[in-house]
Symmetry: C2
Subunit: 325 residues, 2 copies
């Protein structure tokens, strides 16, 4: 088989996902294994390499037909030195030269970026942003992650910390955020924080169909909030609509900062589909300026949980193009 591939690795605190990805962004094979959060980094890197090699053997792809490896990793990272500096969920990962370790294991060049950026690059390259121009992705999960692609390149910024759009402030003196700020959009419009706001409101005595579940010790998540809302739960409707409104304000601010062609919404909250997209678009149209010719398209992500591995592979394909220039 002479098909050429890049290896894309989506490395997270819970799972490691490895995929073989073609030059046009299709997954040819993938596998997932749980991350051993207590293991030494060298053995975790060895596990990534083994997963990749098993896939190559299964698909009968020779080493010469692998153009490179992309790795999306939790951070913060040092891009220039290819290192994971540390990680909240992986206590053994302190100053790990993961790029060179993985490169040695697989005898291939490795492109490293953070997980949110890899997912954004995936959607830009092979998903909702495919074939388009400047691109911003918001991933609405436990937190609100983001990635920005300008002129085909992920924006890193002077201190490698650009595109932390979840920490843009939308409410002066608003809800406290784990980052130390107040009023970050992440506190209003990520899957976990929407659920948390519903929980707090119920604990404060507001009426909701979810109150009995909470009293029974169940955890409320964004999916339950959406279900309750569809059945007319007023509290869930209000908090979901506020989330959409704050996302729309964030889209206005992204429009005026980057003026991208598209803004893509992904992550757990985006599984709600039109229930998320329609109100975000409505609030955006009401709240942005009158000049219509410069508006970004707001869309849903299309790659789901594969975005990270596909995007990491896309970075490897891109690195190869740069080398051959």
């Amino acid at each position: 088989m002479s098909q050429r591939v890049a290896i894309g690795i989506d490395f997270g605190g819970t799972n490691v996902k490895v995929a073989l990805v073609s030059e046009d962004g299709r997954i040819l094979a993938k596998s997932t294994a749980p991350t051993d959060a207590t293991a030494q980094p060298a053995s975790v890197v060895g596990q990534m390499a083994e997963l990749a090699e098993s896939l190559l053997i299964a698909k009968r792809i020779a080493h010469d037909n692998v153009v490179g490896v992309g790795l999306g990793s939790p951070g913060p990272l040092d891009f220039r030195r290819g290192m994971v500096l540390h990680s909240v969920n992986l206590p053994t990962w302190e100053n790990v030269p993961v790029r060179d370790l993985l490169s040695t294991h697989l005898d291939l060049p490795v492109a490293l970026d953070n997980d949110a950026n890899a997912a954004a690059f995936g959607e830009y390259w092979a998903g909702a942003g495919k074939g388009g121009g400047d691109f911003v992705m918001l991933t609405l999960g436990t937190g609100l992650g983001a990635g920005v692609v300008l002129d085909g390149k992920l924006l890193h910024g002077h201190h490698d910390n650009a595109a932390e759009l979840g920490h843009m402030i939308v409410v002066p003196d608003g809800l406290p955020c784990g980052c130390g700020q107040r009023g970050c959009v992440e506190q209003y419009a990520a899957a976990a924080t929407v659920a948390k706001r519903v929980e707090s409101a119920i604990k404060d005595g507001e009426d909701s169909s979810l109150a009995t579940r909470l009293q029974a010790g169940e955890t409320i998540d964004a999916k339950l909030v959406v279900e309750a809302m569809k059945q007319g739960d007023a509290l869930c409707e209000r908090i979901w609509d506020e989330a959409c409104m704050f996302l729309a304000i964030t889209c206005v601010n992204i429009q005026h900062a980057f003026n991208p062609q598209s803004i893509v919404l992904g992550g757990g909250m985006a599984e709600a589909g039109e229930v998320l997209l329609d109100p975000v678009r409505d609030h955006f149209t009401k709240r942005t300026w009158r000049l219509e010719s410069d508006r970004p398209q707001i869309q849903l992500a299309t790659l789901g949980y594969d975005a990270g591995a596909i995007g990491a592979a896309g970075l490897a394909w891109k690195m190869r193009l740069m080398r051959n220039k």
Copy 2:
């Protein structure tokens, strides 16, 4: 005289300023003439060319030693076609191919950008941002103009409308803005809007030492607000401090969007110097996240009203570098 220069033109609704600028960003000669807002564009372009030629003759610089022309113009512009599409203050300027007109007049290549971008590029190239990395400028005047320089290039965005940072929303459902939005930072933190907020508060019955001036028919401007504040006027103190707070929140949002090395404050409000800079820095330090290693430096602009002409010339120098690559 064998000195090589670029011609920088800062074209505004009130004045046309032309400067001869060296490769290291120094003005060798400059002149200013009032803009005839009712004249046909072709004759205004002719006037720009004459001002430039007079300076070259006075400084005995031969045409061969002029590397090019940069023009900062009111917009919106069509960058690809080098056109002014229209202008609020110049009613005769509709779809004017100003780049080619000026190029024909002077027999030189012309780089065109909007006035806020030209000023930002001036400060980046030869002012407060000189020698540094990614850079954002906020110009606090009648409005709140902005320019963003990433990797040495002005950011234009997919629809040529990036870096309109004055229209980032800092107060959901806040004060109405001329652009059609509500709560734009421009409504709280530009020289003209700070003065207007003080006026409105006095008309609403609040106490201020400026009340008698307003009753006498005087117009309140930002300079008067600063003077009154220095003498302990509580209303002016409050509104100025709010302006600084909203600028600080905007700097936090710029930090998380672009993560630049520096954010520079210029325009009329920046003439207040430390009275502006110190509270903006204080509010920023209190309101940004705990991670200190990625913070942009917040500084005052240093080129004053020459930034536009110097920046336009800088764009001409840069265009020449690109041609010679």
